[in-house]
């Protein structure tokens, strides 16, 4: 598995072969508060880099989930739809959102590494 990369929209992404796993960051869940609803893209659908690929709602508000790369949705994590509180418990592990078969692996190049993201998250929340 490759290193974890991060987007400015607070998604994380890892790559295994040409299949990317995507979720939202710990920082994002802290900003959102308790998550009570999650909607994921349909399996088999195609999503475009930086396009919306789902929704999460906290007790306070709804937020779009964006995909940091393009591809075909090959799997979704039904467990977080059934029990959205799981997202707050383990956002960067068990509570992944969806898996994409990537078209263009070079799309990962523009994303941040962990150090860059931590700095970005700190700055954007202060």
């Amino acid at each position: 598995m490759s290193d974890v990369k991060f987007s400015k929209e607070h998604e994380w992404i890892t790559l295994e072969g040409d299949v990317a796993t995507i979720g939202i960051t710990q920082h994002a869940t802290e900003m959102l508060g308790d998550i009570v609803f999650a909607e994921l893209p349909e399996k088999g659908s195609n999503v475009e880099k930086d396009g919306t690929a789902g929704v999460v709602e906290s007790t306070k508000a709804a937020s779009d989930v964006y995909t940091p790369v393009s591809g075909e949705v090959v799997d979704i994590n039904q467990a977080i739809v059934d029990d959205p509180a799981k997202i707050n418990e383990d956002p960067e592990g068990a509570a992944w959102f969806f898996k994409l078969k990537m078209k263009d692996i070079s799309e990962l190049d523009s994303l941040m590494n962990k150090e860059e993201y931590d700095k970005f998250a700190k700055e954007s929340s202060s």
Partner: protein
Amino acid sequence: MEIKKTSLNKLHQDCQAKFVEFAGYEMPIQYSKGVIEEHKFTRSHAGIFDVSHMGQLFIYGNENLTSDLEKIFPLDLKNLQQNCSKYSFLMNEKAGIYDDLIITKLENGYLIILNAACKEKDFEILNNILSKKYKMELSNDRALVAIQGPKAVEILNETINGVKNLTFMTGDWFDYNGQKLFVTRSGYTGEDGFEISILNDLAEEFTKSLIKKGAELIGLGARDTLRLEAGLCLYGHELDLNKTPVEANLKWAISKERLSNGGFVGSDKIINQIKEGAKQIRVGIKPEGRLIAREKTKIFNETELPIGEITSGTFGPSINGPIAMGYVDKEFSKIDTKILLEVRGKKHPANICKLPFYKKSYVKGAN
């Protein structure tokens, strides 16, 4: 304009509050536990709410004041006992609602609790209708602290002996550290509880004493989920100048004695609406599944014709599912009517349901 802070602001900071601006005040939206845990703690133990941003309006006067206030509020104030409270509204001539409020009869006048965003305007409106005849004081020196939940009575009574004898919607003055507090048994969560009007200088120490006894500070986020589960209206959402108490399904708050003769601001419209029926009415709404339908969500009937709009919608932690309130055309207001909610371009099934979502547990007295 500079943001205002309540006398508990430092305590909120010490308790890791996340702040939001609300009606010009810096208020805690949640603490480190988060909205759901805070909500559940209030329902199972006791939550403390800083509601010092709300208006505490004292109007001083005698029987003449009572008669004059009856020209404003749809209440039988002449027969209201001293230290008893009523829920009411400040309305315009068309029965549109300027504000909803709690009015309590005192020995030498009335105490009216007003919404933070409306309090200054309410003061002007009331002062004008009363022709500036009475001494009116919108308190700056008092905080308002609520304690709500099944443990509230036990905890508060340890600090202020005797509050346990109050019944729902009554109040009294109590001594605390040589100062007078006004305590009412009331609240906005659907739980038993109290609201305490206390001098700013004493508020922090008083609140800390409640925390020491096991109560916890709760933010505005959980206050909203608690009141929505209890089916209670929030001004600016369920209530505004374009809604009447009849449309808001709050007829119960209008004294029967006042409906025969009227004579209060908005009475013609209210009496007419009660006779003819309102076109739209406030209802409870339960979306199917987990979908949350927020304020301004459009409501459709089963044949996809528009019939209304959601005014508040969230996730109800004690219901463990989504809940909402909104206005629908009268003919679709019956319980179990199937409706559709348009969220993110798609229509989702929901049902009109009975309010409250969560059963209230008030300690009622004889009146």
